[in-house]
C-alpha cells in the first residue's frame, strides 16, 4: 500500500537564520547614540536625588543621590555595548535575546530620568510618587485591556473599549450622584458597559457586521450621546446630576507598610483592588477552567469547537457581555476615583491605548496588565516631569505615552500572535 497523497510539514533543517533582520540592532543603535549625545555629553553637571519613600512612611529609606554626568556616561556606554552586541548577534544569524532588550530598556529609562530630572529646576524626584501614580493611571487601562482579552480571545474584535469606558464613567457619575452611593454608581457602570457590549455582540455576532466598524461607530455614538446629555442635563444642575461620591483609597494593614512597594500597590480604592482580582480571575479562568478552554478554542478554531459540541456563538456572546462589565468598572474609575465628576470625552483615548496594551501584552491577561502599567508609567512620567520644570517642551512630553505605544505595538518585542479567528464571524455550514 504505497499510493497516496502526502503531507508532513516537518521542521526545517537549518536552525541558523540566513535572512538577517536588522530592525532591532538599527533601532538600538539609534537610541544608544541618542543616549550618548543627550544623557552623557549633554548631561547637566549637578547631582540628582531620587527619593524612595515619603517622610510620612513608617519605614523611611535613604534617598539615592547620583551624579548626572557619571550616570549618563555609564548608561550610554552600556547602551552602546548592548547595541554593538546585538549587531554581532544578528550578523552571526542569531536572534537578539529578549533579556538584552529588557536590560537596554532599564538603562535607557535610568539614563533618561537622570538627565531629565538633573536638567529640571529642582533636581529631586519622588520615585515612589512616580510609580504609585503609574499604577493609579494604569487601572482603567488594565480594565480596558482585560475587556479586550475577554472579547478577542473568543474571536470578537473589541474596538469599542473606549465607548465602554466612557459610558461606564458617565453611568457611574449619574447613578452615583442620584443615589448618593458610590456602589450604586459602580453597579451602574457595569450595566452601562454591558449595554455597549450588547450592541457590539448583536451586530457583530448575529448580524455579521464588520466588527471594527461596529466598534468605531459605537465609540462615536457613546461620545455623542454622553456629550449631549452632559451639556444639557448634567451641566444644568451639576449638584444633582454630576457630583458622585468618591471611593477613597483603603490601606491594607501590614502590606501597605512595606517600604516602596507597599504604598504603590496597597493603597488603592476598591476599584483598584477589583482590578487585581479581575487580572487574577481572568488569568486563571482563561488557562485553567472549562470556560477558558472553550473561550480560547472558539477564538482559535471555532469549527473545531463546534464539532465537539461547543456552542460557538453563544460562547462569544457571553464573553462580549462579560467584557463590557469589566470595561464598565474601568469607566467607573474615572468618575468615582480619579475626579468626582463626569466631563465630556473624559476617557480621552484611553480605550485605544488599552487596545494597544492588549496587543503588546499578546492577548494574555498578565501581559496586558504589565503593558498597561508601562503605558501608565509613561503617562504619569509626563505629568511629573512637567511639574518638575524640565527643559523638554511640554508638548513633547505629552506625546510620550503615545510614542511608547507606537514603539510597543510596532513589534519592539517580537511578533504578537492574535487568536487565529479573531474578527472572523462564525457561520455554520
Amino acid at each position: 500500500m504505497s499510493a497516496a497523497t502526502l503531507t508532513a510539514p516537518e521542521a526545517g533543517s537549518s536552525t541558523v537564520s540566513e535572512v538577517r533582520n536588522w530592525k532591532t540592532p538599527v533601532m538600538l543603535a539609534v537610541l544608544a547614540v541618542a543616549a550618548l549625545l543627550v544623557f552623557a555629553i549633554g548631561a547637566p553637571s549637578n547631582n540628582v536625588t531620587f527619593r524612595l519613600t515619603a517622610e510620612s512612611d513608617p519605614i523611611v529609606l535613604p534617598a539615592i543621590v547620583v551624579s548626572a554626568p557619571v550616570t549618563g556616561w555609564i548608561c550610554a556606554v552600556v547602551l552602546l555595548a548592548a547595541a554593538a552586541w546585538s549587531f554581532l548577534r544578528v550578523r552571526a544569524g542569531r536572534p537578539v535575546p529578549g533579556w538584552l532588550l529588557a536590560v537596554f530598556a532599564v538603562f535607557f529609562v535610568a539614563g533618561f530620568l537622570t538627565w531629565v530630572v538633573g536638567s529640571a529646576r529642582t533636581p529631586n524626584l519622588a520615585l515612589y510618587g512616580l510609580l504609585a501614580g503609574s499604577v493609579t493611571l494604569a487601572v482603567p487601562l488594565i480594565f480596558g485591556s482585560l475587556s479586550g482579552v475577554l472579547c478577542e480571545r473568543s474571536g470578537v474584535i473589541n474596538i469599542a473599549i473606549e465607548g465602554q469606558l466612557l459610558f461606564g464613567a458617565f453611568a457611574a457619575a449619574i447613578a452615583g450622584s442620584l443615589s448618593g452611593s458610590a456602589f450604586v454608581g459602580l453597579l451602574a457602570a457595569v450595566i452601562a458597559g454591558v449595554m455597549v457590549s450588547a450592541v457590539l455582540a448583536v451586530f457583530s455576532i448575529k448580524y455579521i457586521v464588520n466588527q471594527v466598524i461596529v466598534g468605531v461607530v459605537l465609540n462615536v455614538l457613546v461620545s455623542g450621546l454622553t456629550g449631549f446629555l452632559f451639556s444639557t442635563v448634567m451641566s444644568a444642575d451639576s449638584a444633582t446630576w454630576n457630583s458622585p461620591p468618591r471611593l477613597a483609597p483603603i490601606s491594607i494593614p501590614v502590606l501597605s507598610d512595606i517600604p516602596v512597594i507597599g504604598p504603590i500597590l496597597f493603597e488603592q480604592s476598591i476599584v483598584g483592588y477589583l482590578m487585581y482580582i479581575a487580572v487574577a480571575v481572568i488569568y486563571v479562568g482563561l488557562y485553567h477552567t472549562k470556560w477558558g478552554l472553550r473561550t480560547r478554542a472558539v477564538g482559535e478554531h471555532p469549527k473545531a469547537a463546534d464539532t465537539v459540541g461547543v456552542k460557538v456563538n453563544r460562547t462569544r456572546f457571553t464573553n462580549v457581555l462579560l467584557a463590557g462589565a469589566v470595561a464598565g468598572l474601568g469607566g467607573a474609575f474615572f468618575t468615582l476615583v480619579l475626579v468626582s465628576s463626569f466631563g465630556r470625552d473624559m476617557t480621552a483615548g484611553q480605550g485605544y491605548i488599552a487596545l494597544a496594551a492588549l496587543i503588546f501584552g499578546r492577548w494574555n491577561p498578565l501581559g496586558a496588565f504589565f503593558a498597561a502599567l508601562l503605558f501608565g508609567f509613561a503617562t504619569n512620567l509626563q505629568s511629573v516631569l512637567s511639574f518638575l520644570g524640565t527643559p523638554v517642551p511640554n508638548q513633547f512630553l505629552a506625546m510620550l505615552p503615545y510614542v511608547v505605544t507606537i514603539f510597543a505595538v510596532a513589534g519592539l518585542v517580537g511578533k504578537s500572535r492574535a487568536p487565529a479567528s479573531n474578527g472572523i464571524p462564525y457561520i455554520k455550514g
Partner: protein, 518 residues
C-alpha cells in the same frame, strides 16, 4: 452498534447533494463509501454527524430512530468523526484538544487535565499510538494529528468511526500505519465508515463498498472487484485508468536550474542547493511529500520568491531577479497549486479569467481600451476546445466545479506558445473524467516540444506522467530517477533516502513486498 440511514435526502436550494440514500453499517465492519469529489460523500457524513439537518429521511441506531441537533448529539449516540481537515486547535496541546467539549473538571469548573492525560495514555497504549498528551498540535506531524482525532472519538466512547478522506494528507508509511489501526479498531468491534476516492486503499481496507455518484447510491461492490470496475461504477462510464503516452523524444535541455537556494522569510532554507535541467519534449515530475520545498521552487521560477540565490536560465536567459511579468513574457506558463486562490479570480467571468495573462496585450487590448468582442470570441473557442462545462462565458469562474475551474486555468496557460510549462498539482480535487483530459493536454504540450515540469504529491499521477522524476526532501534533491521507478523506491526517497541508496534498498525488498501485497 448497528447504524442505518434510510432515504436520506439533503438539498441546498435547488441542488440535491444527497438523493434518498440508504446505508447500513454493521458492527465490526469497515464500510467504504466510494465516490468522486463532489459526489455527496462528505455531505452525507455531515448529516450523520449532526452538522447538517437532513431534508428528508431518518437515521436509526440499533433500530431506534434518532435525531441529531448537533455534533454533541451524534457523539452521545456513539458516532465519532475524523474530518478531512482536522478539527484540532493548532495552539492547544493534545490533552486540551481531547478535553475540549468533554472536559473533566474539579471544583469550581477548574480543568482536570490529569484525568484527560490518563485517558489519552490508556488509549495510546492500547492501540500503540505513541502520542504525548502535552505536545502542542502544530508541532506534530500530520499522521500523529490524525491519531489525536481518533483518540478524541475513542475518549467519547465512539462505536462508529467515520474517517473522511483520511489518507489524503498522509505519507505512504503513515497510510500503512493508519490501515493497521483501522484493522485493530475493527477487531475491537468498532464499525468504521471509510470515505475515499482512492480505489487501491478502498479495496485493501473494506469489508463492503458502497459507491455513490451524483448524490445517489449506485450500488454495493465487492472489495475483490477490479479497480477498473470500481472506477467505472464511480464515474458512470468506462474510464481508462492508464494514459496512452508515446515515449518521450527529448531534445536539447533549454531550462536549467543551477544551485538554487530559497530562504523563507524566517530564514529557513526551503530550497537547498538544487540543480536540474529539463529538455524540450520531456516531462519532469517533482515528487515529494507536501511542504518539502515544491511550492517555493515553482514560485522561485516564476519570480514570486524574494530570498533566492543561484541561477535559473531559460534558453540562455537568466530568469532569477526578473519581474513576474517579464518571466511570463519570456514564455513561462504556470498552473499554480491552488486554483481558487492563485489560479483564478473567482468573481470574474470565465472569459476574463481566460485572458488574465494577456489582458494588456494585443489582440485583447489596444492602448487603454480592451476588446470585449475578441475576449468573448477567445472564450468561446477555449470553452469548446477544453470542454469547460459552464452556463456561459460570462458566468463567474468561482461558480464552476473544481475540474472545470482547472480546465479554465489550463486553457489560459496553454493558449500561447510556451518555452516552459509548469503545473503544480494539476489534478488535485478534480473528477476522474477531467483528470484523463487534463493529462492528455499536458502530454500534448510535451509532444509539441515544450519542456514540462509537473509538481505533484500524488504518486499515481507522478508515475503516470513523468519521463523523469525528481524527488524533493526538505528542499534538497534526493536524485532524479527514470519515470518507471518503483513506488517503494520513490517512497524511500520521499522520506529522505538518496536515489542510489533507495534503488539498492528497493532491490532487496522487492521480492518479499510482492508476495505481501496480495
Amino acid at each position: 452498534m448497528k447504524l442505518e440511514l434510510q432515504g436520506i435526502t439533503k438539498r441546498f436550494g435547488s441542488l440535491v447533494a444527497n438523493d434518498h440514500i440508504d446505508l447500513v453499517v454493521e458492527p465490526g465492519q469497515v464500510h467504504s463509501l466510494l465516490g468522486e469529489n463532489g459526489a455527496g460523500k462528505s455531505t452525507l457524513m455531515n448529516v450523520l454527524y449532526g452538522l447538517y439537518e437532513p431534508t428528508e429521511g431518518r437515521i436509526l441506531v440499533n433500530g431506534e430512530p434518532v435525531s441529531f441537533n448537533g455534533p454533541g448529539d451524534a457523539m452521545a449516540a456513539g458516532i465519532g468523526m475524523v474530518h478531512q481537515h482536522f478539527m484540532l486547535v493548532p495552539v492547544f496541546t493534545v490533552a486540551e484538544n481531547v478535553a475540549l467539549g468533554n472536559e473533566a473538571t474539579k471544583a469550581g469548573g477548574m480543568l482536570n487535565l490529569n484525568q484527560t492525560r490518563a485517558k489519552i495514555k490508556q488509549i495510546s497504549d492500547q492501540y500503540g499510538f505513541d502520542v504525548d498528551p502535552d505536545a502542542v498540535i502544530e508541532d506534530l506531524p500530520v499522521g500523529v494529528q490524525q491519531r489525536v482525532e481518533i483518540i478524541k472519538a475513542l475518549v467519547r466512547d465512539a462505536e462508529v468511526l467515520i474517517l473522511d478522506e483520511p489518507t489524503a494528507v498522509l505519507t505512504p508509511k503513515e497510510t500503512d500505519e493508519l490501515l493497521a489501526i483501522i484493522a485493530q479498531l475493527k477487531s475491537d468491534g468498532k464499525s468504521i465508515v471509510f470515505i475515499s476516492h482512492k480505489l487501491r486503499e478502498v479495496k485493501q481496507v473494506s469489508d463492503i463498498i458502497t459507491v455513490i455518484r451524483r448524490g445517489k447510491v449506485v450500488g454495493d461492490a465487492d472489495p475483490m472487484a477490479s479497480t477498473t470496475e470500481l472506477a467505472s461504477m464511480m464515474v458512470g462510464r468506462a474510464v481508462s485508468l492508464t494514459l496512452d503516452k508515446a515515449p518521450a523524444q527529448p531534445g536539447e535541455a533549454t531550462f536549467r536550474i543551477e544551485d538554487l537556494t530559497v530562504h523563507a522569510p524566517n530564514g529557513q532554507r526551503v530550497v537547498d542547493g538544487l540543480s536540474l535541467e529539463i529538455r524540450r519534449g520531456e516531462i519532469l515530475a517533482v515528487a515529494g511529500v507536501q511542504g518539502n520545498g515544491q511550492t517555493e521552487l515553482t514560485e522561485a521560477i516564476l519570480g514570486l520568491q524574494d530570498h533566492t540565490a543561484g541561477s535559473i536560465t531559460l534558453e540562455g536567459q537568466e530568469l532569477l531577479g526578473r519581474s513576474v511579468k517579464d518571466i511570463i513574457r519570456a514564455g513561462v506558463g504556470f498552473v499554480p497549486e491552488d486554483r481558487s486562490v492563485e489560479g483564478l479570480v473567482g468573481p470574474f467571468s470565465v472569459a476574463e479569467n481566460l485572458i488574465l495573462n494577456r489582458y494588456d496585450q494585443p489582440p485583447f487590448a489596444k492602448g487603454l481600451a480592451m476588446k470585449p468582442s475578441l475576449i468573448e470570441q477567445n472564450a468561446q473557442e477555449k470553452i469548446g476546445e477544453f470542454d469547460v462545462r459552464t452556463q456561459s462565458a460570462h458566468a463567474a469562474a468561482g461558480t464552476l466545479s473544481g475540474g472545470n475551474q482547472q480546465k479554465v486555468v489550463m486553457a489560459r496557460e496553454l493558449s500561447r506558445p510556451l518555452k516552459l510549462f509548469i503545473a503544480s498539482q494539476p489534478t488535485r480535487g478534480v473528477d476522474v473524467g477531467s483528470i484523463e483530459f487534463l493529462h492528455k493536454r499536458i502530454v500534448a504540450e510535451r509532444d509539441g516540444g515544450t519542456p514540462v515540469m509537473i509538481v505533484s504529491t500524488e504518486l499515481d499521477e507522478v508515475l503516470e506522467l513523468a519521463d523523469r522524476i525528481a524527488v524533493l526532501y526538505r528542499g534538497r534533491l534526493m536524485g532524479i530517477v527514470p519515470g518507471k521507478t518503483s513506488r517503494d523506491a520513490l517512497g524511500l526517497m520521499m522520506a529522505g533516502m538518496p536515489a542510489e541508496e533507495a534503488l539498492g534498498h528497493e532491490e532487496q525488498l522487492g521480492t518479499d513486498r510482492e508476495s505481501g501485497e496480495q
